[in-house]
Amino acid sequence: MVRTRFLPPAFNSSRRRFVQGLAGGAFAVAGAHRFGWAAAPDMGAAGDTGAVLSGTEFNLEIGALHVNLTGQPGIATAVNGRLPAPLLRWREGDAITLRVSNRLSAPTSIHWHGMIIPADMDGVPGLSFNGIGPGETYVYHFKVNQSGTYWYHSHSRFQEQTGLYGPIVIEPRRGERHRADREHVVLLSEWTDLDPEHIFRTLKHQSNYFNFHRRTVSDFLRDARKEGLKPTMADRLMWGQMRMDPTDLADVSGYAYTYLINGSTPAGNWTGLFRRGERVRLRFINGSSMSFFDVRIPGLKLTVVAADGQDVDPVTVDEFRIGTAEVYDVIVEPKDDRAYTIFAQSLDRSGYARGTLAPQAGMQADVPPLDPRPLLTMVDMGMGHDMAGMNMSGMDMSRMKGMDHGSMKGMGHDKGAVPHRAPAEYGPNVDSLAIEPQSRLDDPGVGLRNNGRRVLTYSDLHTLGGPIDHRKAGRDVELHLTGHMERFIWSFSGQKFSESEPLRFNYGERLRLVLVNDSMMHHPIHLHGMWGEVESEHGEFLVRKHTITVQPGQRLAYWVTADALGRWAYHCHLLYHMEAGMFREVHVERSSTEGAPS
């Protein structure tokens, strides 16, 4: 690795230990039971009763937990002494009660991510309830009217970063549509030895602090040799003119993070068991705070059968990108008595989470190398030209001289797609505006285009059973995902949460949310309390999700039925983006002219 070249050997070994994590005393193995999961730092796996909780009554205690994942002791925020929090198994149709007690010295909360439940059960302090003070217990009680894979996490400050997240699996009343012989939850997350408060402050001080992949003098020389001096100069000048960095793929990288599967480091190698020939359902949850993962299992085809808990028309791929807070259920059919590596590399290729599927514990397969680090392209800047899917290296852009991210208005050929702008978007807190955002639902995204593998895109996802509301949307609400990378400010339509008014939805209405990503980062946007039904390029129903990733420079529309009265959170699920202002309140209220929903 380039970045460790100048480090003395001692640095390198501690660095490797940090990236790979500690192996721990034992392997974390799941699979003795039909429902695999497992693995707190103490690696209690098979036969451990606390790792999975099921029924209708739950007692969850939130407290501090001493952990050592990297060789450096740290303190995690855990539920019932577990990192990740226990797997909760519910049944569709049950009314459940969860008593959540706070043993921390700070307030806490739990949000049931993707659950369609009353506003006062949603767990967002300040919107749903007052939060759970130290020593207090809050009783969540609601009826479970859906099924599939979901997750839960804290909605208080940075507790999600320090470990307060866990999976939820809800058994459908009429049985699973897609039969499997065995299943495992694969919860992706990240651990950091740094204090999240420090990370946030650091991003405000120097937003590229964690990027150790910036372009150097030797990159320039290499490109000049390969592409010629003039195009290379033009490329560098274009990016410099915009004051943007094509290597800015993640705000927090493997420099700070050790990536985890079910709480195990890559060295810890969480292992899920299978028998040859079985159909194994893997419930992938991205429970990280700031990471996108590109997931594959070399040697196995992945058949995606559900997205965000909702069954989809099965689609078979080699790889999928999972945004923060997104969920995909995948069925694999290992035919051989061998180990398979679950490989989840971070979007910026600064690290990976790794686990193993194997017929027995202790086996392992090769871990593939990280893919080459991609660069952002014109498409990711919202400059259109419909180049999605084309092989665009950074160099292609250098031939397009005079592309000024700030002053290229009116160039679009699709005039209808030119975003409407609020004055705040021209203000000091927004550093870029997409000129010609494209829908690009079939674009696998930066770093996955033309990589020789079949990669899942949103256009592959077709939720079974149609939308939850057959009505056409009565109105459009357009919001822009904006920010200032250099000063680490994030917002909707140029306004931070503190500067914004709530978005008001009329109770019962069907509306169409249009998101335009003006920034050069991916944003997984999560609306609490209501489903988002993504619209295809042809205006048809595509997929129902709770968290919708909008790629850089992308324009995406989805329908929402405002059938959930109350105050709800609407935000980017990248934790530090949310904290920096990419958050809105959505207020669903009865209007004077309209009655109840149909």
Partner: protein, 298 residues
Amino acid sequence: MTPRPRLILFCGFFGVMAASFALGQESQDPASHHDHSSSQVSAPQPPAAPTPADAQTPSEAAHVPPDPPQHPMGDMPYHEMSALMQMDDAARTAMVLFDQLEWRNTTEGNAVAWDAEAWYGGDVNKVWLRSEGERVGGTTQGARADLLWDHTFARWWSVQAGGRQDFGTGPGRTWAAIGVQGLAPYWFNTEATFYVGEQGRTAMRLKSEYELLFTQRLILQPEAEANLYGKADPARQLGSGLSDLEIGLRLRYEVRREFAPYVGVVWARSFGGTADRIRESGGNPSDVQFVAGLRAWF
């Protein structure tokens, strides 16, 4: 990186900014903006009434909307809500940066020089403290401190206003300060400050720096700084016009981002009346210095 092109750049920049502000205002009806400042919301229309052709979907039949909250939360002011959420995007932060804290070998002997700044505030408004100077042979020279209010007015630029105090050799001078700082195109970190002092004194300071990465940790920082004075100040050995120009090249190694030792070379040149005074006292107005120091921030 001479002062003149920088100034032209600023003027051009202000022009562009003014134009884009004007455009932004024009494109928006002020009345509707007030109502829908948070988003672009089109006028609500009642949902289309279901027709027999609109068959209910299986998902629609299965979907159960949530009950209304039994204990709804009322609206509350932002500060109350942000306290409950423990989330505040308007929170203030602070930073202290010793950009240069270094030893120099000058013609007058060994010197210790500093160039540091600190700020405290939110995303748009900050209090900014900036100081630089040199200690040579037990005396402080060319030292100054600016205390400024910093207001970000454009994507890449802040306006700064406040005061400056000069100290060290010669009588102290107090100035009112106004300037801009920001990130010019092509990643030039740039500051331009204009000063007005007592007895009709005026001054200007221009500074620009750049970072060139040899590796992710080995970084070359070229920097240029110029000082100009409206009239001579013999008591502080200053002539009028361009007084001094300093061009430095510092190569640092970021052990951590916040902690980077460096070595470098600085070419310091005095001009006009300032140079004359140095020559009169037997000095050389042009000096090449080796420097070694530490760049640190927290």
